[in-house]
Amino acid sequence: MAFSGALTLTDLNDFITPSQACIKPVEQSNKVDVKDAGSAATQIQVDSSGSYYEVSANGSAPAASSTKLETAQISLNDCLACSGCITSAESVLITLQSHTEVLNVLSTNSDPSSPAHRVPVLSIAPQSLASLAASVSSSSAQPVGPSRILRRVEAFCKDVLGFSHVFDTTFARHIALLEHGREFLERRAGMGKLPMLASACPGWICYAEKTHPEMLPFISATKSPQQVMGTLVKEWMGAKWGRSPEQIYHVTVMPCYDKKLEASRQDFYNEAYATRDVDCVLTTGELELLMREKGWDLSMPVGGEEDAARRGAVGLTGSGTALPELIAHPGTSSGSYLQSLVSMCADASPGPSALSVRAVRTADYEEHTLADTGAGTVLLRGAKCYGFRNLQNVVRKVGRDAGVQVGRGAAGRMAAVRVRGRPRRGDGAAAEVDKGYDYVEVMACPGGCVNGGGQLKPAVSAQEDAEGYARDWAENGVKLNTDGGLPSSDARWGTRGWTKKVEEAYWHGLPTPPPSPGPETINGTSGNLSDDHQKIQWADELASRILQDLCQPNTSEAIRWNTTMDDEAEARRRRLFRTQYRAVESEVNGLAVKW
């Protein structure tokens, strides 16, 4: 069925969106004065600075008889503790997580010789680099890859803003994938529930905690790459630099607004040093705004960016804090969680194995099945599931397969829903197919993280170009943010064509298979360049060294990431690389009920 041009679907709208206004209750502290009829009534006035004053109705001079009223304040922590809306999205107050806050901290930072000095560190997600790369490429003759963009962002952050260090988060993701694989094996061994559900998407975590608490035991406890990066910077690098965690100011750049919520979680707050693993999260769009405000042209090359492989070739450099850059993890542009488990299971399989991929309706829902080609047995049954609609079906399916009831209790559970067993298939093979998943890569945004809510947007205009990328981005796209505010909700979601461009930029120059590999035999690392292989090797070795440094196992032998260390070291590993989730209870303040 073909649609006319006017009917072509261009907007991705399958996002989780906040459905309610904020309902956070604010305590009443003022007392009521009983007055006689006819006495002065009071009014509320708002002055130019936005402060509220109570003034008597007949008092003309606010200064004389006015009382300043407290302004209600809402922090991201309040949002996390509240079940009012589903996700914060970008509409919630984010003053502590804004680019002006970053500028404030940097401008008021003490002299580096002072003990009060905070070392400013910036870590940028590969999806953010891809978004910037796609926008720069759209207005230049030659495509500009993420590695060059990283050099330019680094130059901007160091030379203009004064950051001491700039990293990308792919090495943190490498560690997250290692720990994630380890957790999967633990669950397979009976320590925890299957299917395991990905936890890197904070929108999904927020939604699950607020509306599907029964899903929490299934959600991977491994920290997201952002939070692993926080641990690396504050704990590992801090120690290398002789700095305690609060002496480092760690900013991340993410494709997603909800990463701000993630960084604000109590679990990632270090009580002892009163600091967070990630102090501030900027979206890609906010970084772009910052660059524009400072007059930085990202389309201009910087010195040395040709040497894209520089960092990859550095090799192990003793006790330095250099990290392998832009490590390619084959699979999806949302972190390759599923593919990393597929590779792990394929590697562990004694015989040859084959992966089959089946798209369910669209590319946002794919079933990946890894089977032993000899015995025909299934080694791993996984799915990739992006967007709100698909998420609903996964929640239903997981709930049904695992025999847990879905939905929040407050919704008024039906007392007697008939329990119906799954139909028995006659032959074993069919029954095998009917079994549930072992793993689901869940992401709240359709298209995944490259299409995150914090990414740069193509211009939203009525131009014929439905693909949305053949236009001059600097002329159009950038202007979306010129008022300095957040893009309007109408403009914030990218088009499919634009998302495709970002996806291409993400994989630019990487010797990786396409994000959705077709049926093929998996033989360990699928990269074919020794450079890439070398980088992975370096990453593995560095990860082991970091594990050793941070967990201090009671052994003199070299350890690998999957080594089981002594109990104390394992407890440290859990503290450093895992987290936890909790159901958020509904508000019961009657006056705050929206009806």
């Binding site: 069925m1 649609f3 006319s4 006017a6 009917l7 679907l9 709208n13 399958d14 969106t17 459905s19 589903i86 509306t211 669209t362 709100f388 609609r389 698909n390 609903q392 079906n393 239903r396 879905v406 939905g407 919704a411 008024g412 559970r413 039906m414 007392a415 007697a416 829903v417 008939r418 119906r420 139909p423």
Partner: protein
């Protein structure tokens, strides 16, 4: 008023709900009438029709009550086209899917006292707040629901009472009051507190999407009804009018008529085949407690021009549920009973009526 060409006659009154009755639904295959209520129950009645000369006599028998177990009001009900499944939409935000165990045999028309218990086969969760309306597509393959959470959900019906979410449509800016399917195509319409009507179709390679927004009503749109031939869509509103929208192109609908006469909100409309040729009969009712029956027809197209919709009030019945609001009006879908309809009111009653042409 008395000069109208038809009159409305009460056939029977069905009592039993302990609270406001919100909605009625005729089973499309079997002689069952269902009603739902703020008392959280669904009541089922069977009926028999005896054709006596020109006039059908209808007798209703109470069949059973489904207590449902919903935590709050059951706001709306919908039969699947097969007549085997009943869906309930509740203020508790859930949708219940009810059927009789087929293995235990016997249909509801077995009135010999055999056990034909209706069981909840599946609970569809997802709406955040009150579910307000529910509808099966003509093929029975799709189920749509809507809620105060501003969303419209489309579910695909799978065997074994399994459902897959095909789309969550977040197009309305307010409470969605009603969903309705086109009588033979997979076109979905939704009506909202935001005063608009939205129309959706499926893009097979992508998702469900809104292809048209119909504006014109000046307040909440409470009710929707497609004409039996699918060329028109009627809508009832808090602005006291019924509007009729014509499909002028594949994906384009235009308002062609505004029917006035109600003194308070129009809560429910139903477009049945009616008697005679023409486009059928449109029934409307609402907060003024009055039932209006409009005969809809179109003038013949002249000289290649388009035909024009003509509406004519043929019957009117005030105080249909005494002093109460009437929340629902639905035509009986069965052949030979095209002039029969049922209403549900704030008095908790269900009444069945017939239109008699003078």
């Amino acid at each position: 008023m008395d000069s109208l060409p038809a009159r409305i006659e009460l056939i029977t009154q069905l009592e039993g709900h302990d609270d406001r009755s919100w909605h009625v639904a005729w089973n499309p295959q079997r002689p069952i009438l269902a009603s739902c209520s703020a008392d959280k129950s669904v009541r089922l009645y069977t009926y028999k029709s005896l054709q006596e000369a020109e006039k059908a006599s209808l007798t209703f028998t109470y069949h059973t009550t489904i207590p449902t177990g919903h935590g709050k009001t059951v706001r709306a009900i919908a039969w699947s086209p097969s007549g085997k499944t009943l869906a309930t939409a509740s203020f508790d935000s859930n949708i219940g899917i009810w059927a009789q165990d087929e293995e235990e045999g016997a249909g509801v028309d077995d009135d010999k006292g055999r056990s034909t218990e209706w069981e909840c086969m599946t609970l569809l969760e997802g709406h955040e707040t009150e579910c307000k309306s529910i509808a099966y597509s003509s093929s029975g393959n799709l189920l749509a629901s809507c809620s105060r959470d501003k969303t419209v959900w489309v579910w695909e019906v799978h065997p074994d009472y399994d459902f897959e979410c095909m789309g969550v449509l977040m197009e309305h800016s307010q409470d969605v009051k009603c969903v309705a399917w086109h009588p033979h195509e997979e076109i979905l319409a939704s009506a909202s507190y935001d005063d608009t009507i939205k129309l959706y179709v499926d893009d097979p390679s992508e998702d469900w999407f809104c292809f048209a927004t119909l504006t014109g009503h000046e307040s909440t749109v409470w009710a929707l009804a497609f004409s039996p031939d699918g060329r028109y869509l009627a809508s009832g509103s808090d602005d006291k009018t019924v509007r009729v929208w014509e499909r002028v192109q594949e994906h384009k609908w235009e308002c062609v008529a505004v029917l006035k006469g109600h003194e308070r909100s129009v809560y429910s409309i139903s477009w049945g085949k009616g008697s005679g040729d023409g486009l059928g009969w449109l029934a409307s009712t609402g907060g003024d407690g009055t039932i209006h029956i409009w005969a809809m027809s179109s003038t013949a197209a002249e000289e290649g021009g388009k035909s024009t919709l003509v509406h004519k009030l043929i019957a009117r019945f005030p105080c249909a549920h005494d002093v109460s609001d009437v929340n629902s009006v639905v035509w009986c879908p069965h052949q030979g009973l095209e002039n029969v309809f049922a209403t549900a009111g704030d008095d908790g009653l269900v009444r069945v009526w017939r239109v008699i042409l003078a």
